[in-house]
Symmetry: C2
Subunit: 229 residues, 2 copies
């Protein structure tokens, strides 16, 4: 692999003189490390090593561990929110749109299984009294999503497609059903032996999630109008 005269053969070739490559590598490594053990358990040494970068470089690009963590959260949530909002803004009846949302949310997580770990971990970590470094994230990402979903639920209730559920209760329940599987997957694996992340199992789960939500939300009278396959 001749690489012009200025060949610097260390082993961490991947990232010399390439700021955004290095920065992205750090961020990706940080996502994985933070997903594993949260901010407390994450090791800056491990992040640096995984990114094939010297540890000091973390502090070149980010103020400190907390700042890096915030950057990770921002990346995770902005990406997620963008995809979900697009699905929510699509055409169709409230039934079709809520299922489109749920499917998109599920699909996104299925492709990025680290993300719910970070989210749930962070939720679990933030206490009610404490100063909330997570508050920024809530305002910027959760609130818009929540309100859009609540609005959609009210729409469906107006058309008579949805049961008279309280959005403030229904939205978290729905998200729970979508997300929880990926966190409990290791236990399912232990119990069933099967790999919960295989394409077949994911397809089964996806269908089950949509069925669960449909049954819990749609009026019995007007059944079978959503896309269930």
């Amino acid at each position: 692999m001749p690489k012009s005269k200025t060949n610097h053969r260390k082993s961490h070739l991947g990232s010399r003189r390439q700021p955004e490559v290095s920065r992205a590598a750090i961020l990706q490594a940080a996502v994985e490390e933070f997903a594993r053990d949260g901010i407390a358990g994450a090791r800056t040494d491990a992040i640096a090593h995984a990114a094939h970068v010297n540890k000091a470089l973390l502090y070149y690009y980010f103020k400190d561990k907390e700042d890096l963590y915030q950057a990770v959260l921002d990346q995770v949530f902005s990406d997620l929110l963008e995809k979900i909002m697009r699905a929510l803004a699509g055409p169709g009846s409230p039934q079709q749109r809520i299922l489109a949302y749920a499917g998109a949310h599920f699909d996104y997580i299925a492709e990025n299984q680290l993300y719910p770990r970070i989210v749930l971990g962070e939720m679990t970590r933030m206490r009610l009294g404490k100063p909330h470094s997570f508050g920024r994230i809530t305002m910027r990402y959760f609130t818009p999503l929540f309100q859009k979903l609540a609005e959609l639920l009210r729409d469906g209730q107006k058309t008579g497609e949805f049961r008279a559920v309280d959005p403030e209760q229904f939205v978290p329940s729905m998200i729970a059903v979508i997300v929880f599987y990926f966190n409990s997957a290791p236990i399912m694996k232990l119990m069933s032996g099967k790999d919960p992340f295989s394409p077949e199992r994911l397809a089964v789960r996806r269908a089950a999630v949509l069925d669960f939500i449909s049954a819990a939300l749609f009026c019995p009278s007007a059944a079978g109008k959503g896309e269930l396959k």
Copy 2:
């Protein structure tokens, strides 16, 4: 500072010559500390201080931090499982029994809000490939509960009360709805301003959970037979 020979009230009065008191104090303090930040973030100093005990005493009763953590998990789960199993073993139709279970599970968590933090934290922490120190817990506590619930679901399907859901999919969904609220509570608080743990809000949530499960599971034909109040 005169200090008669048998005078040992230093400040850690609570626990001299009282092995089980000390041990229990350590365990309770450990539950709270582990719930906050997981095993990685928990500080043995903090546990000892909260238990009004010298740190070395932790190592008198427990081999190391990991061992203490396992003891905490055992206490949490055995307690939870016992209460839930009792509710599951009660009398009544499958409809009534599944709602009794869900209500009991909800109530238990409402009273011990630290527990789902530990559980979810632990789920999040265990990776698919890694050696599973959590496997013991799974076998001892999760599997029996899961199988009992699956059995109940099949019972209800036989009597025609329940829809033809796949227990392997439905059980995790149901647990998700019951549990998730307590983990997302801090965010809900930020968004709504209201305290998600106030008795009124808990009652509302409890009703919503039972309604959600009822709607998702019970056959539309045979509605309104469970206890919904």
